[in-house]
């Protein structure tokens, strides 16, 4: 125990963190990290502008445009917006112009109270207009890109939504490339992403439940589900976990993932992230729930199971025989990428009797005179491979190629000729690396890469015995995991035989007539029975003339 006490003393305890000092320094500047003052909109235009200016400050990109409603100087008004977040031509033509011109024609009735109705009903030629009488809300609207119109003598403001800002064009998602399937991927704008899903699911029960998360960033986050398919418990659970979040900012959906997952210490990913709207749509149809986050092209899908990380959306687009075969290839390479190096170490250093004689002779021949033990050799090579892969990801594409050529030469050729590693180890490392690329999910791929190393150490210390221990520990861990109350290894454990048709194989579409049992129970039937096609379908004779 002394060890731990000593270590605890060395560590920084949370009580004397440097954060306190920072707080003291900034105490005299009002920072609205919490709630803004809940003041109402005043009747006087100048007071309101003053209020806004005191909160927003004098910023070059915040425009306060004073105008007059009609010819009378008694009707001053002010338009407040942030330059760059609104559609300026629309603002000029449809808001400012109509405010100025319409009233000039003298249609404005006397009496202040009717101004409000007139403006709302017959002046503002914008589609999305609402009213607010709360300064706090005005500030939030301006910051999110709406235009607010303040009029002298009205204790309410008009919020006009003509948001328009530069966004990345919809392009093919680079992290999930398919041969056959839609080519469009999410971009960083929540609205665009929501439309992409809406376009795929034209159903009145498709629900987007949006909420701002982040004290400072106030990022819009949308919870997407289909009412009547997704279990209400699941939806509520996700909603509650999202509402629990109280953080300064959410810059990527990854923030949310870490804040709402079930097992924060597990290295296994507990929800999917995807850039593909079709994948989100498919999951929603199965009864899952998705989270879209403004500013991130990655949607989160939950609950997730281990087996579904091996699946690719393409499995459902390609014909089922091919998809089943490819799925098996992926499962096998999943095993290879996790176990091949450790099995190689275990067998060649502990269980040589398992190797066929001629192979043993050639392994032994290639290892003559090598300076390192198999374990060290494997750890070294795998580490270099990881370095190369990381370098390849970070570098610009043009330089990345140079790195991979150098890496291939150094690892593959020179290391062998220099007598540092054996060619068999190069094969093992290369096979492992290539196999790990077949896993469609990047997050699971990383996990597997990570687990290879402890498994290699176990193999080097205990042989196959160690590999089995590692495997058993892995199984124990994954069996204990839950993702939003769905067991992580289901439908394999607990076994749901009916769901295996989309896990171990990919059953033909006309056979997958039920939704997954773990989260599609609310509305289990997916399709009409008896859709198996054949030569005689209905009265259509394949376009041939009836004889």
């Amino acid at each position: 125990m002394k060890w731990f006490q000593w270590l605890a003393k060395k560590g920084i305890s949370p009580n004397n963190s440097p954060a306190e000092g920072a707080n003291a320094n900034t105490a005299n500047v009002p920072v609205y990290t919490g709630a803004l003052p809940d003041t109402p909109v005043s009747l006087h235009l100048d007071e309101n502008i003053q209020q806004l200016k005191s909160i927003l400050g004098e910023q070059v990109d915040i425009i306060y445009r004073r105008i007059r409603l009609g010819p009378s100087p008694n009707n001053p008004a002010c338009i407040v917006y942030i330059e760059g977040l609104v559609d300026t031509p629309v603002l000029n033509e449809d808001i400012i112009k109509s405010l100025m011109l319409f009233t000039k024609q003298g249609d404005l009735k006397a009496g202040k109270s009717s101004i409000r109705d007139d403006i709302l009903n017959s002046v503002l030629t914008a589609s999305n207009v609402c009213e607010s009488c709360n300064i706090k809300q005005l500030v939030a609207s301006v910051l999110s890109g709406e235009v607010i119109l303040l009029v002298e003598g009205l204790n309410a403001a008009f919020l006009i939504d003509i948001k328009a800002h530069a966004e990345r064009a919809i392009s093919e998602p680079p992290s999930e490339v398919l041969v056959r399937g839609p080519r469009e991927g999410f971009n960083e704008t929540l609205k665009t992403n929501m439309t992409m899903i809406r376009r795929r699911i034209k159903h009145p029960r498709l629900r987007f439940s949006t909420m701002p998360i982040g004290r400072i960033t106030a990022t819009d986050v949308a919870l997407v589900y289909i009412e009547g398919i997704a279990a209400p418990d699941l939806v509520n659970e996700v909603k509650q976990r999202l509402q629990r979040i109280d953080i300064d900012g959410v810059l990527e959906s990854g923030y949310l993932e870490e804040l709402i997952e079930d097992h924060p210490f597990s290295p296994f990913p507990q929800m999917h992230h995807t850039e593909r709207p079709d994948r989100v749509a498919g999951s929603l149809l199965e009864g899952q729930v998705a989270i879209l986050c403004d500013g991130s092209p990655f949607a989160l899908i939950m609950p997730a199971q281990l087996a579904s990380f091996i699946n690719s959306p393409e499995d459902h687009y390609e014909r089922y025989i091919l998809s089943t075969a490819l799925r098996h290839v992926r499962w096998i390479s999943f095993g290879i990428s996790l176990f091949l190096p450790s099995l190689y170490i275990a067998i060649t250093t502990f269980h040589q009797e398992m190797i066929p004689t001629r192979l043993l002779v050639s392994i032994s021949a290639y290892r003559q005179g090598l300076p390192f033990s198999t374990l060290i050799e494997a750890l070294m090579m795998e580490f270099i491979f990881e370095v190369l892969r990381e370098a390849g990801v970070r570098l610009p594409r043009a330089i990345g190629q140079a790195v991979s050529i150098a890496g291939a030469l150094v690892i593959g050729q020179s290391a062998v000729t220099a007598g540092i590693v054996s060619p068999l180890m190069v094969i093992v490392v290369a096979a492992t690396g290539i196999a790990s690329f077949t896993i469609p999910s990047y997050s699971l791929g990383i996990t597997i890469r990570l687990f290879r190393f402890p498994l290699m150490l176990l193999a080097g210390a205990f042989g196959l015995f160690g590999v089995s221990i590692g495997f058993i520990l892995l199984v124990i861990h994954t069996v204990n995991l839950r993702s939003f109350s769905v067991p992580y290894l289901s439908p394999l454990a607990p076994l749901q035989t009916k769901d295996l048709k989309d896990i171990l194989v990919r059953a033909p579409q006309w056979k997958m007539n039920m939704r997954p049992r773990e989260y599609g129970q609310l509305n289990p039937t997916r399709m009409a029975p008896g859709l198996k096609p054949g030569p005689q379908q209905g009265s259509n004779n394949g376009g041939r003339k009836q004889t």
Binding site: W3, F4, L7, A8, G11, T348, T349, F350, Q352, E353, T357, L360, V361, S362, I363, S364, A365, Y366, R367, Q368, G369, L370, S373, T374, V416, T417, A418, G419, S422, P423, P454, L457, L458, G460, A461, F462, G463
Partner: protein, 413 residues
């Protein structure tokens, strides 16, 4: 709490690296013993030849940094001869001579000299080998003819130079020729424990290499590897009475043994063409079945042997038409006689001369008449040579391959 467990896990991980060497051995440190030969060395001692694969020059190992330009006349195998009191004693003496650990899991061939097998028996050596978990029970057991096992073990093949590796390769394809009957050590021991069956195994000998030119051909000075003087051949079968060898069968008699044990898979049958002078026919065995049925008649055991075989005509050395059923029947009859000759020769040698039962007749009687076998067993050795054997051979020719009527200069078409 979390901090403590993290530290604990880190310490445990670090301890993995400390376990290090328990049972761990790197491949290149192993001396892979591929074959063992044993002969007696006088004074009740034995001489053991360990043949291990010299992996440093195997597999074209370009790695390892050894100079590629220097010509090394290294053998791909190494023999190490140890004199000791027992096999285990010899194994334990090995580390005194070399550092490499001896590794027996890939030992495929165990050769016992004929003299040793005749005088001292197999059990003396098989005990350690079947006891030690490193050895696999599927080691081929062979009887080595000749005086000197060390020279037998130093007879390289040309294409596959390692002698024992070559032998085990040849043994894997025993069924192609079916002219000798090898047993693996495990099977040998199992047969040995059976009173109703006597063990046997193939014989290995070194014969002069006919490919070696009589005049001095090319040699090392021409940069060529010279033909080895001798070559290894598996020639016939050694018969045992309990664990001691009593005699051996030549290739024809070995075939007879295999016929009676229903173990003929493929192979050639040679016989004279009926009615044609100097004419010979050779057929390839295609499918066989032998049924051995002991029958009790008037208190006398008779063994009925029924052999069915299907063959394909591969060669006739004189013209002999085969497009007629009668012609085929003539050949089949001659073929039957050839098979009967093979079986009869084996019976004569083993049953009459050596009076041992490698055929498993006792086994067949045991299975069919268990009570009778209990009575017969004490004096089986006396009864066995007198048991009459009825042979019924029925061979069928399935094909004559591409030729039905060989070239004939005499008769006009």
């Amino acid at each position: 709490m979390i901090k403590q467990s993290v530290v604990l896990i880190l310490l445990l991980c670090a301890s993995l690296l400390l376990t290090g060497c328990w049972d761990r051995r790197e491949v290149e440190e192993l001396g892979i013993v591929h074959g063992i030969a044993i002969e007696s060395a006088g004074n009740n001692r034995i001489r053991v030849v360990f043949q291990y694969i010299n992996t440093s020059i195997q597999g074209g190992g370009g790695g390892g940094g050894s100079g590629e330009n220097t010509i090394t006349f290294q053998k791909p195998y190494r023999n190490q001869v140890i004199e000791a009191d027992s096999v285990y004693d010899a194994v334990k003496q090995l580390p005194q001579e070399t550092v490499a650990r001896r590794f027996f899991a890939h030992t495929e061939v165990l050769i016992v000299s004929e003299e040793f097998a005749r005088e001292r028996g197999i059990t003396e050596i098989s005990d350690y080998i079947s006891r030690d978990p490193q050895f696999k029970p599927n080691i081929w057991l062979l009887v080595g003819r000749g005086k000197d096992m060390a020279s037998l073990m130093d007879t390289p093949g040309v294409i596959s130079p390692i002698p024992t590796l070559r032998v085990s390769n040849v043994l894997e394809h025993q069924d192609v020729v079916s002219s000798y009957a090898p047993l693996r050590l495990g099977e040998f021991i199992r047969t040995l424990e059976c009173t109703s069956e006597q063990p046997f195994t193939a014989v290995l000998e070194a014969t002069p290499n006919p490919s070696r030119p009589v005049e001095a051909g090319h040699g090392i000075l021409d940069g060529q590897v010279p033909e080895p003087a001798n070559r290894l051949a598996i020639n016939g079968t050694a018969l045992f009475k309990n664990d001691k060898m009593v005699g051996w069968l030549n290739q024809q008699e070995s075939r007879g043994l295999l016929w009676l044990r229903n173990e003929v898979k493929q192979g050639i049958i040679k016989f004279s063409l009926p009615g044609v002078e100097n004419g010979m026919a050779a057929t390839e065995i295609y499918r066989t079945h032998t049924k051995v049925t002991p029958v009790l008649e008037n208190g006398q055991i008779i063994v009925n042997v029924k052999i069915d075989a299907e063959t394909v005509v591969q060669e006739v050395t004189r013209s002999f038409p085969m497009d007629d059923t009668e012609d085929i029947q003539k050949i089949e009859e001659a073929q039957n006689q050839a098979v009967i000759r093979e079986v009869q020769s084996a019976l004569d040698k083993a049953q009459k001369q050596m009076q041992v039962d490698p055929f498993g007749f006792g086994q067949a009687i045991h299975h069919k008449y268990p009570e009778l076998w209990q009575q017969m067993r004490p004096d089986w050795d006396e009864v066995f040579p007198e048991i009459p054997v009825n042979l019924e051979v029925n061979t069928t020719i399935r094909l004559t391959n591409l030729t039905s009527r060989p070239i004939d200069f005499e008769t006009e078409p």
